[in-house]
């Protein structure tokens, strides 16, 4: 394949990945999903970098991507810690749960009233022992719903 169509294809894939990530980060409120979308955008860019690198016959772009991957791995670890901490505080993964950080004079944005979790017992997901079929917890769907 000649370099130009290869570049076009790769850039298309990169753009699609980026756009998917962008849409995801703008529409989803789940912190983990938002984080995944951000990673998706990152990888879209990485694909374009590799494509351009290949097109120009220059290793610089690919080296940069290796660095991006490394940094993304570190960043993922940190971001997950933050997400877990945020979850521990509110019991929710919803980003809107943190909108109390807004300017105090503004009113709250409510698109969908969240169910109150005060009435629910705090049941945390547990891991089953290895090699054993996980036992279904009857409360789990309930917990999942507001995660």
């Amino acid at each position: 394949m000649t370099p130009l169509p290869l570049l076009q294809n790769a850039l298309t894939v990169g753009a699609i990945l980026f756009a998917l990530g962008l849409v995801g980060i703008l529409t989803r409120r789940n912190l983990i999903v938002m984080f995944l979308s951000a990673e998706l955008m990152l990888q879209g860019i990485s694909v374009s970098l590799v494509a351009w690198s290949r097109f120009h016959g220059d290793w610089g772009g690919q080296i940069l991507v290796i660095f991006v991957l490394t940094v993304a791995a570190c960043e993922a670890a940190l971001a997950l810690v933050f997400v877990l901490q945020a979850f521990a505080r509110t019991g929710r993964l919803d980003a809107a749960a943190w909108q109390s950080l807004r300017e105090s004079s503004l009113s709250r944005v409510v698109d969908q009233e969240l169910p109150s979790i005060d009435t629910l017992p705090q049941v945390w997901p547990t891991l089953s022992p290895a090699g054993v079929l996980p036992q279904a917890d009857e409360n789990e769907p309930l917990q999942r719903e507001h995660v």
């Binding site: 703008l26 529409t27 938002m34 980003a95 809107a96 943190w98 909108q99 300017e103 944005v109």
Partner: protein, 761 residues
Amino acid sequence: MENISPSTLLMLVPLLPLAGAILTLLFGKALGSRAHLPAIAGIAGAALGSLVLLVGTSLEVGVAAGVHAEPVRPVEMITPLWQWATVENAYTPAADTQAAIPGTPLSATTHEARPFSITVALRLDPLTATMLAIITCVGLLVAIYSIGYMHHDPGYPRFFSLFALFVFSMTMLVAASNFLIVYVFWEAVGACSYLLIGFWFHKPEAARAAKKAFLVNRIGDFGLAVAVFLLWMSYGTLDFHDTLSANGTIVPGILGQTRLADAGGYQLSDAAGFAGGTIGTVICLLLLLAACGKSAQVPLHVWLPDAMEGPTPASALIHAATMVTAGVYLVTRCAPLFVAYPGALVMVSIVGATTAMIAALIATVQNDLKRVLAYSTISQLGYMFASLGTGTLLGFTAAIFHLLTHAFFKALLFLGAGSVMHSMGGVIDMRRFGGLRRVMPITAATFLCGACALAGVAPFAGFFSKDEILATLHSKAWPEAHGNHQQESPAAGHANTEMSRLMPTALISSAGTAPVGSPSGNAASVKDGLNSLNRPDVWRVLFLMSLVTAGLTAFYTFRAVFMTFTGPVCVPEEAGHSVHESPPVMTLPLVLLAAASVVSGWVLWSTDWLAHFLSATPSLTFAAVAQTAVAPVFHLNLAIQGTLAAAIGIVIAAIGHLGRRSDGPQMERFLGPFGTLFANQFWFDQLYSGLIIKPFMLLATLAAIIDRSVIDGLVECVARVPLAIGGLLRQLQSGMLQRYALAGVMGVLLMVLALAWQLRS
């Protein structure tokens, strides 16, 4: 010990009280009731040193040789300590050097730029030695008295620390040999005075009195500051003494021997080595203003009576014996400057005599014992100024003589009043006690000695010094009665009228050319106007005022004595049951001071030692003053006049108050409208309140309103701009992550679009 040089001794005199002050400050709390020890040790050492210096200096001057036909050799010792500040090439004389420093002989040096260098140097001459002895000796006695007087006070260490600090400042003031150093310690004694008047700062009256004293003194200090600036501009140095410049030439000091010797006859004021024209007159008047502030002369006298809110020993030392005499010292020190301008001199006398009279009149109706003494201090300082203003050697020495005797008897009277107050439980109103001579015999006897000295009763100290002052004024008023002395002192005497007759023609022609930097017509007319006051009839009025004041002095003094010590015993209830004579630590200084009040006048007058000694002061050795030396003739008719005035005063006081209780404002009623006038202190306070304080308060209120509304409003407007912008931007902070992300995306899109637009076009 016998190897200590005079310079070391001179350094020790201020240093020991300073060390005492610092030690008392640091360890006062630990020493407790013995906190006075470091301070008193320091002052005692200084007193000893001063006396040794006095004896040493007087040996150097030599004994009196009868009528001094020739000026005495000036005696002066300079001890440079360190260089305080130096600015190279600070003073460049004007192109026409003669205009800048008329008559300066050292033409080689006058054209060079000179550094502004302030050397901290101490000087020793007869005037300084006399002042040091007075300050430290009276200071020591008052400090010993304070042990008894202050012993209950919680601020005991603070008092002694301030007291020693004052003695340090005052000794430095009279020992400094540079106008700037004089200014520094002029302020320092003012600060000590402020701190001691406000010693009981929790009393609102004391705090207010301290503030008033400080502020009124600022006016005088302002005069001194401007005078120092003008002196620098005119002379290019601020040193009293001659100094050596870097290349070994002599820079003549303002009062240095080079200039004084060059001034020669001092015959012609404008050309006689001293800054000529208007500047010279203005310097003298500013120095007089400074002296008026510190020495409580009209119109700046209002602070002294209020200063009595301070502890009595502080009043005795600072506001009677020493600090208030700083003005007298300053004028005496600057005698050559004043003698060059007869107009300024006569102003000194007019201020002095007026003050003496006004203060004496006010004192006649005061009922507060300490206030009587305060007004009498103002009055006696007025006497000294009246004497200084004559510009004759006798005038200057008589003023210092009166300063010395006054220091003794006024300190004695104040300490006596303090003793009464101590015993009466803090009551000082003379109407509320009486007959105390039976209760406090020592205080009564010593107070009587002081009162006799103050009133000018014959063998007591005040009689001789007051007689000399009256004689000085008399010799100006009726020169023909005093032989031909006046004929020899044209510059000091009848300046302009007789001068042309007596001057050699050459000098007159130089007088015509001298005032190059000379006055505009208006200013010159002021100077001529002042000079025209120097007439015998003016002096006659001043003499009569002084004579009347002598009578008034005797009256109010003995009124106080009769009201306090005679009649039936009467004690206010505040005193409690244990009315007693003061302890020995308080009566001992009283007795010593009483002895000094009795003998000092007679001894010094009969031997003529002081006048001879002082005449060796460089400032007083120069021709114009020395020529006017009047032999200490005992003017019988003058002595009779003075004694008669005193006797009349005492008799009237006896008729009014001896053995009688006076409860109301008896004196005031007796004097009618004048009584009201005197009781309200000639409405000076009200006048200042209406003319100065009220307008200033109004201005301050106005300024406060403008500050709060206009200026603060502007500042707040500026502060509101970011607040408003922030209010708009605040709407964006919704707390929704997606919105922030959307804003970011929009921003990127905008940038991409802009980029694309740019690339396309």
